[in-house]
């Protein structure tokens, strides 16, 4: 049974890889199978991890007010599915606005507390930093200056309320330099990630064919 599974997996792997030659029925088959299978997974997941433990089991377990309050999310959930019928689709706006409201409320404070404040704090750096040796002092100060200049100039690049002339122009030009280095680093890392995925797949295939 496991051997069969391994060959199914290997077959599907090859079917997808065949896209490299050109688009073909094998690839199309695998692609559509993937979309169908992953959609099916959602249904099982929502049942096993959402509806059953959080609604049905809780409803059976709880008593009194707690029990009946669970009706509210259940009704919201059903309202969500009303979207499937065009005439009742508007009812789904209620639960959607509930989820959107919660997400927005949580995000508002989280982004300030979790990003903006700590990142401003981390950029509040003295431009000189005295180390044990002169070369350490120079290196540390240089790094502090680079972080400070980089952040400020990148922010200047995204400043739109004024024509970029004079000092603003110079600042935003420096900003672009930092941005490009940043994007380059991301690109390098992304290349690495993509190759790693191929390594993973090829290792699997080579193992199936007994070459590793």
């Amino acid at each position: 049974m496991n051997l069969l599974g391994t060959w199914i997996a290997a077959g599907l792997t090859v079917a997808i890889l065949s896209f490299l030659y050109r688009d073909n029925p094998f690839y199309k088959f695998a692609e559509h199978l993937f979309v169908g299978v992953s959609a099916g997974y959602w249904v099982i997941y929502i049942w096993a991890f959402d509806v059953k433990p959080m609604l049905i089991d809780e409803f059976l377990r709880q008593a009194g007010v707690e029990k009946w309050l669970l009706i509210i999310p259940a009704v919201f959930g059903v309202m969500m599915l009303m979207r499937w019928v065009p005439r009742t689709a508007w009812i789904s706006r209620w639960p959607i606005s509930f989820t959107v409201g919660i997400a927005a409320g949580l995000a508002l404070t989280a982004q300030v507390q979790g990003y903006i404040i700590p990142q401003i704090q981390a950029t509040l750096l003295p431009l000189v930093s005295i180390g044990k040796t002169t070369s350490e002092t120079i290196a540390r100060s240089f790094n502090n200056i680079m972080i400070f200049v980089g952040v400020v100039c990148a922010l200047l690049f995204f400043y739109f309320s004024r024509e970029h002339k004079g000092a603003l122009k110079v600042g935003s030009k420096v900003g672009i330099i930092f941005l490009m280095i940043g994007f380059g680093a991301s690109f390098g890392y992304t290349v690495m990630a993509r190759i790693s995925l191929l390594i993973g797949r090829l290792t699997f295939l080579l193992q199936v064919f007994g070459l590793r």
Binding site: L17, I147, G200
Partner: protein, 210 residues
């Protein structure tokens, strides 16, 4: 009813989450927790919504015999296969996630290789894209190229074999200028996020209601 109620719901829930953050006094914490649990339940339902457009689209494709309609059968077959094995495993083991179950069998032998290989294709595309598109056309593009090359060498063992300082330079690039750039971009992006949340809570932003 169709427009006002949703805007009121959004305002109340969003505002509650904001003030419960600042005011620890009861009953705000309890109320927020209850809302979060409900959110988790309702959120689950939103994720099956996509199923509807998927099914509609493919059934239409089959009935109208559009180009490639045969593949829509493959898609529906995949969907049915997972549903059947899922519930069969659930009946047999009490959970679909028993590692021996037919559901997990489908998972490990169908979904994992398909997903993984889809992404492995990118390794090839990135190579050919790098070859064809990454040209030192301008000063900026050149900077990007050089930084990318240093990181690509610095993050693999062979970089150190070529020149022992390459990893040092690549670490510095990542830790100093790269960091500064990302911070500069992200402060702006997250300010945008904060403002979007505010607009939603205040009901200025209503596109999600269409």
């Amino acid at each position: 009813m169709k427009r006002e109620v949703p805007i009121i719901i959004t305002f109340l829930t969003g505002f509650l989450c904001v003030i419960a953050f600042f005011i620890p006094h009861p009953p705000l914490g309890d109320l927020q927790q209850r809302f979060l649990v409900w959110y988790a339940i309702v959120y689950g339902f939103t994720m099956v919504l996509g199923l509807d457009s998927l099914l509609k689209y493919n059934v239409k494709k089959i009935t109208q015999r559009k180009e490639g309609w045969q593949y829509s059968y493959v898609l529906l077959f995949g969907l049915a296969l997972v549903l059947v094995t899922g519930f069969q495993s659930w009946l047999k083991y009490g959970t679909p996630f028993e590692l021996r179950s037919s559901f997990m069998y489908c998972y490990i032998h169908i979904i994992v290789p398909l997903q993984a290989t889809m992404f492995a294709l990118l390794a090839f595309f990135i190579s050919s894209a790098a070859y064809r598109a990454f040209r030192a056309r301008t000063f900026e593009a050149t900077l990007l190229l050089v930084a990318a090359a240093i990181v690509m060498l610095g993050r693999v063992p062979i970089g150190k074999m070529i020149w022992s300082e390459i990893p040092v330079v690549s670490d510095w690039l990542l830790n100093i200028p790269q960091l500064a750039a990302k911070r500069g971009i992200q402060i702006g992006v997250y300010l945008g996020g904060v403002v979007m949340s505010l607009r939603i809570i205040l009901g200025i932003e209503r596109t999600y209601l269409t």
